[in-house]
């Protein structure tokens, strides 16, 4: 199974934030550990939300808001995509992250098509071939 570990850092979104060399080195060691365990599939860090945009859908049409966002308390700062044998194992990996005070990591399992009921699979084009 796969899990996404979503990092929600404890930094104000509009802050001109750069991590310390120490923190970067610690995170590098953590990523190395995930790699050496054969668990890491992919990871990325994201530019701040203030440089991003939000596309919201209301009344049947998309509307675009550029960052920064007024009510942006919990912004995703990056993610790891890992392979784990259980949710507990994914959670244990998250516990080992050298995160900063107040950071939050949300652990979510990635859907596989076979997690869906048959009618949904069929709607996704997964129909029997003749």
């Amino acid at each position: 199974m796969r899990f996404m570990m979503l990092m929600i850092p404890n930094i104000p979104d509009e802050a001109d934030w750069t991590p310390s060399a120490e923190a970067v080195a610690a995170m590098g060691r953590y990523n190395e550990e995930l790699t050496k365990a054969g668990a890491l599939l992919a990871l990325d860090g994201l530019h701040p939300g203030s440089k991003g945009a939000r596309v919201s859908f209301a009344g049947g049409r998309p509307s675009v808001t550029d960052g920064p966002f007024a009510e942006a308390k919990e912004m995703i700062g990056g993610y790891w995509l890992i392979q784990a044998r259980s949710k507990d194992e994914a959670v244990e990996w998250a516990c080992r992250c050298p995160a900063a005070e107040g950071d939050v990591i949300e652990v979510r399992q990635v859907f596989e098509l076979t997690d869906f009921p048959p009618d949904v699979q069929e709607a996704a084009g997964f129909t029997p071939t003749s």
């Binding site: 199974m1 790699t35 050496k36 365990a37 054969g38 668990a39 599939l41 992919a42 995509l81 392979q83 044998r85 259980s86 507990d88 194992e89 959670v91 244990e92 990996w93 596989e112 098509l113 076979t114 048959p118 699979q121 069929e122 084009g125 997964f126 129909t127 029997p128 071939t129 003749s130």
Partner: protein, 441 residues
């Protein structure tokens, strides 16, 4: 299970292989190492629910197990003294003080894991034993999980593992990564074991459904670890490249009722892009190490041709044919020849492929292999030799053990006899249902 127990279970999954590996270096016996690691787990299960999980659980387990390992070495050496064995007959590495010193210097880590992998895949063991012991000690799978994966009795697996540990001890297999001339052959055995585990999950010959993707994932995990620990070995990258790319098709290669979908007919949007990218990157690493590609890297390069093609019709068959030429020279086999024939037919037309299969007709190892007549039927049909095509399809239908495939082959035989392609046949040029996989898909 309580929260603490579940957390301990997860920690065990992550730490057990490294723990056993480090202990095996100390006590020079994988069986004893596993027992010591289990003892440490039992201690954790007793203490952690009360005291809380330590900040560095892996280090806690290691420290606990180390103490017990040193006790074991002391008891061993006391016993040996009692038996009046001269202390100087003990090799220095078996001497507790030396061992203790070495342990303190050397933090446990990847090197021990690599040694453990070479030992569990040692050629002194049977293939079944290598697979079982690797899954047990490096995969952290329980005996009954291994048994369910391979559809054998739990007692059989338990016996297999116990015997394997005994064999390793009796053969005094050193706990080391072999060097020199031995290294190549021993690495070959490691690669073979990992690919066997992968294929057991991938080809679904046996076992319960849930365990199959688990076996593939475990083989991938171990393959990635191997490539990290032996980064200078091109074939370590070749194998993981092959497995990542093949695994990228897992969701696309089986229909909702469990029926196989051939590579050419797969919905490529269902291929896993993350795994494809990882596979292509690993293949690049194998190529950058220089030298001629080995058999795993060559198969990965063939799989990569398919992975890069936006559609079956856009496949680079010229390159695939060239790669099969190289593979046939490096590790010739009738099955490789058959796949090469398909690639040649796709690249240069059915006559070129058919000529190659003519040489395989009398090959004893392919005598019961339905894909040979199936390929020949396909090529003959494309050459307009309908009557011969019909005979080949019928022969293939007789040989296949898959009922659905038999139906398809009989339909193709009937269509060939009638001189028309069967209803719903794919466009000319694309390999049809019943045609062989042109690579291990």
């Amino acid at each position: 299970m309580s929260d603490a127990q579940r957390a301990i279970d997860a920690i065990w999954r992550i730490e057990s292989a490294r723990l056993i590996a480090a202990l095996a270096r100390i006590v020079r016996d994988v069986g004893a190492a596993e027992e010591l690691a289990q003892d440490a787990l039992v201690a954790a299960l007793e203490q952690w629910p009360r005291s809380g999980i330590p900040e560095r659980p892996g280090a806690w387990l290691m420290a606990t197990a180390r103490h017990r390992a040193i006790d074991l070495l002391r008891r061993r050496s006391a016993l040996e003294r009692k038996q009046q064995e001269l202390a100087r007959e003990l090799s220095s590495r078996e001497h507790p003080d030396a061992a203790e010193a070495a342990m303190l210097e050397q933090d446990y880590g990847g090197d021990d894991l690599l040694r453990l992998l070479f030992v569990t895949c040692h050629p002194v063991l049977s293939k079944e034993a290598r697979v079982a012991l690797t899954l047990r000690l490096l995969g952290g799978l329980a005996t009954d999980e291994i048994a369910r994966a391979f559809l054998v009795a739990t007692a059989t697996v338990a016996q297999r593992i116990a015997r394997a540990k005994r064999t390793l001890a009796e053969a005094r297999v050193p706990f080391e990564v072999p060097s020199g001339a031995e290294r190549g052959a021993r690495l070959g055995s490691v690669l073979e074991v990992l690919y066997l585990i992968f294929n057991e999950g991938y080809t679904a010959t046996a076992g319960e459904d849930w365990i199959r993707p688990a076996l593939c994932e475990e083989a991938l995990r171990l393959g990635r670890i191997l490539a990290e620990l032996a980064p200078a070995e091109p074939e370590a990258h070749g194998l993981i490249a092959l497995m990542e790319i093949q695994a990228s098709r897992l969701a696309a290669r089986v229909g909702p009722r469990g029926e196989p979908i051939l590579l050419a007919d797969q919905d490529r949007s269902r291929w896993d892009r993350v795994l494809i990218q990882r596979g292509l990157a690993a293949l690049e690493r194998a190529e950058h190490l220089g030298g001629a590609l080995g058999p795993y890297a060559l198969q990965a390069a063939i799989a990569a041709c398919h992975a890069r093609a936006p559609s079956a019709a856009e496949t680079d068959w010229l390159r695939i044919a060239a790669l099969y030429d190289a593979l046939a020279q490096l590790s010739p086999s009738p099955v490789v020849e058959l796949n090469r024939a398909v690639a040649l037919a796709m690249a240069f037309g059915p006559a070129a492929g058919l000529a190659l299969t003519d040489a395989l007709v009398d090959e004893p190892s392919l005598a019961g292999y339905h894909l040979l007549p199936s390929v020949r039927g396909d090529l003959l049909e494309r050459l307009g030799r309908a009557e011969e095509a019909r005979a080949e399809f019928e022969r293939a239908a007789e040989l296949t053990r898959n009922a659905r495939e038999r139906e398809l082959l009989l339909a193709r035989a009937a269509a060939a006899a009638a001189g028309a392609p069967p209803a719903g046949a794919p466009p000319a040029g694309a390999p049809r249902a019943g045609a062989p996989r042109s690579d291990p898909d």
